[in-house]
């Protein structure tokens, strides 16, 4: 009896306290800090990329002395463990318990998709500089999920397909991690390449975390192709590049890679195996653009390493959000207005050295460099642009509406045009 009455009274008291406190708390919020929830894989298979994401964000916050849009910034970092279930759990924690005004981050596409599905219901602004799943800015567009400073997977491999044709390549093969990011990058290449008359002889798909590529390399060695395209991220990229060289294929067949394969986070620990690999990207740390050079120098001075895609993208993403916040006087609570402002903001002064804006679908339009891995004077390797394709849309040269009528790239649909 006593226990029940006790429970009833305490329950009532606490509820009253909660209800009473609410309006008072809201009034204070306007002037309070902007809470940004950063989700990154700090453990698990892409832990090294995740760490650099955090560095990129902190590098920016250090430069602006932790103030964005005129208010202090409170950064809450959560580990998504390279795992979608954990990402979902942490996103929930950041939004429901941490009361974050916005979320930013995630690396692996599957973690991003899980979080995107969640924020669809809560209308929290979610920025994805790294998540490249095509459909988030195409067929399955969610209004509050914005790809600031990011890219969609097939956006860079479309021009690579064109470049490959211009090199005179007639036959290629692809090796890729078997998930959406891999499917989309290969699909982009395959579609443009085959529409231009080329042939994709064979495609190999392997699970993430393949330690031993020898079975695939054995088959690749037997194919007669002009070039091989590989889509690998993280440790898979390191191993593939090493084994490609160890098995003598590097001497025989030129290697084209997705930018993740020649990213600093991978080639930093490699030697000559990575020299000469071609990859398409919006960012080239070896570019002689003065703004890029300054960014790379400052980053290297602070963290002792050349910035990777992860560091650069998060940095630019934060820059973009800040530009929007400045326009709004920091009123991040007005979500609709915030999202609209971001979509309309053009980013100036990013490490790319030229201004970038978002297309009608919330995806940035970049100049794409075809880069080559080159050894610089001090012996370290980095990516240097050889040619560039200006203002590349995520839809390449296709009309957006008809492009979106074709199915999204997957294992079964690679956009290959039958000869």
């Amino acid at each position: 009896m006593d226990r029940r009455r006790f429970l009833k009274t305490t329950t009532a008291a606490l509820t009253a306290a909660g209800v009473g406190a609410a309006p008072w708390r809201r009034a204070l919020a306007q002037a309070g800090p902007i809470k940004i929830g950063l989700l990154a894989p700090l453990t698990g298979v892409v832990a090294s990329g995740g760490k650099e994401m955090v560095e990129g964000v902190q590098f920016y916050l250090d430069q602006v002395k932790n103030e964005m849009g005129g208010r202090k910034v409170e950064l809450v970092i959560e580990d998504d463990a390279s795992n979608p279930d954990t990402a979902l759990q942490k996103a929930r924690r950041l939004v429901e318990q941490g009361n974050c005004h916005m979320l930013i981050g995630n690396l692996l596409a599957n973690t991003g998709l899980a979080v995107a599905n969640y924020v669809k219901g809560t209308a929290t602004p979610y920025f994805i500089p790294i998540i490249a799943a095509d459909d988030l800015t195409q067929r399955q567009r969610i209004k509050n999920v914005i790809r600031v400073a990011g890219y969609s997977a097939s956006a860079f491999t479309h021009p690579l397909g064109d470049w490959a044709l211009k090199q005179g390549y007639k036959k290629i093969a692809t090796v890729s991690q078997d998930y959406t990011f891999g499917h989309e990058q290969c699909g982009g290449l395959a579609q443009v390449f085959t529409e231009g008359g080329g042939e994709v002889v064979q495609q190999f798909w392997h699970p993430l975390n393949t330690a031993d590529f020898s079975p695939y390399l054995g088959q690749l060695a037997d194919l007669k192709v002009d070039a091989i395209f590989t889509m690998e991220t993280g440790a898979d990229a390191t191993r593939f590049i090493q084994q490609y060289s160890a098995f003598g294929l590097k001497a025989k067949t030129p290697l084209l890679a997705a930018m993740n394969g020649t990213d600093q986070s991978v080639i930093r620990t490699l030697g000559e195996e990575c020299e000469g690999i071609i990859s398409p990207a919006h960012f080239a740390e070896g570019s002689d653009n003065p703004v890029t050079q300054k960014f790379v120098r400052d980053y290297e001075a602070k963290y002792g390493k050349i910035p990777s895609l992860y560091g650069f993208s998060m940095y630019s993403g934060m820059m973009w959000i800040d530009a929007a916040l400045k326009k709004m006087g920091g009123k991040v609570e007005d979500r609709e207005a915030f999202i609209d402002t971001v979509l309309k903001t053009e980013l100036d002064g990013s490490p790319l050295g030229k201004s970038v804006k978002l297309d009608a679908y919330g995806n940035p339009i970049y100049d794409v460099y075809i880069r080559k891995v080159v050894k610089r004077a001090d012996g370290k390797f980095w990516n240097v642009p050889t040619t560039s394709y200006p203002s590349v849309s995520q839809f390449w040269k296709y009309d957006p509406e008809s492009y979106m009528k074709q199915p999204p790239y997957s294992r079964t649909f690679q956009g290959i045009k039958k000869a």
Binding site: L7, L14, D85, A114, Y118, D178, Y179
Partner: protein
């Protein structure tokens, strides 16, 4: 409802003594009152405690009462989740039908596991269920057409009525209470007693004429049924499923919750689930080293308290006749 022919003179209410029924009612009432004192996020956590408590309880049926610890129940749990999300998102089935299908799938998988596992015990049972769980995980990871592979499947699984945190929590609470009661009745039934006999001395049971493999098979399948219920609830909680839901880590966490609460205590599973989930939330707020804390917890429990929290409490000298 089958009740054991009790010679005791106290009145029995649905198989429980008056005292036990009162405690059960108080616990459920207190649990139902929680949403009024907890934030939305915490209500979500409490819901997870209930769901994983059911999973841990199902593992306890085998681990505590038949003496066989399984490292494959995470896979059984996750299969139910996959089927429920798939049925809703891809096949457009209503929630109740999807739920039923999920539980059915889990029960089926458990039966298959059981067919292979009943002849083993101890460490070999552990390893076999681990291997079977890995096969399920491998299939979910690679059968991209159906399971979405690495990406998993997203869906709007939760019925519209239960969209709010509190509403869903109460629904899960009701489900958990029913399921816990059912499991409790199961282990106290003559069948459950046979399982305990098998745990204590398999050879003796065999010589007494009991069909040991058959009993284990049924016990495993029933335990899989309940794991499936937990999995289906999880599908509605998350609206999402991915290979990590069927991964070994899920099975390990379930076993840990069972052990933390107390092997063979059945209800200790909820205590264990609450302890682990609370620990995880508190620890992650201060450090990224949650995995280290989890590992150390495992080690300490194995060395100092293998009988779990409830087990330790029971050992406190109040001689209670079980």
């Amino acid at each position: 409802m089958m009740t054991a022919r009790a010679k005791s003179t106290s009145a029995r209410f649905a198989g429980m003594t008056g005292g036990a029924a009162l405690i059960a009612a108080i616990v459920v009432a207190a649990a139902a009152a929680l949403p009024s004192v907890l934030s939305n996020y915490q209500v979500g956590l409490a819901t997870e405690v209930l769901i994983f408590g059911i999973l841990a309880m199902s593992i306890d049926i085998l681990g505590g009462f038949a003496g066989r610890t399984s490292l494959g129940h995470g896979a059984i749990f996750g299969v139910s989740t996959y089927v429920v999300v798939y049925a809703t998102a891809q096949a457009g089935l209503p929630p109740a039908a999807a739920f039923a299908l999920g539980v059915l799938a889990a029960t089926l998988i458990a039966a298959i596991f059981a067919l292979l596992a009943v002849r083993t015990s101890g460490v070999y049972f552990l390893l076999l269920t681990l291997a079977l769980g890995m096969i399920v995980w491998g299939i979910c990871l690679r059968w991209t057409q159906v399971t979405g592979g690495e990406n998993g499947i997203r869906g709007d699984v939760r019925p519209a009525l239960l969209v709010t945190h509190s509403a869903f929590y109460w629904a899960v609470l009701a489900g958990a209470a029913m399921v816990a009661y059912a499991m409790w009745r199961f282990v106290r039934s003559p069948f459950g007693l046979t399982l305990r006999g098998i745990r204590d001395s398999e050879s003796r049971m065999r010589s007494l004429g009991y069909n040991v493999p058959l009993h284990l098979f049924i016990g495993f399948t029933v335990s899989g049924f309940f794991a499936g219920v937990a999995g289906a609830l999880y599908a509605m909680f998350n609206n999402f499923v991915s290979p990590s839901t069927v991964a070994l880590a899920q099975s390990v966490e379930g076993v840990l919750m069972m052990i933390a609460g107390g092997v063979g205590t059945l209800f200790g599973a909820f205590v264990g689930a609450a302890a682990i989930i609370a620990l995880e939330n508190v620890v992650s707020a201060y450090t990224e080293r949650w995995q280290t804390v989890l590992g150390i917890t495992f080690i300490l429990i194995m060395i100092f308290a293998p009988e779990g929290i409830i087990g330790k409490l029971r050992a406190i000298p109040t001689r209670k006749v079980r």
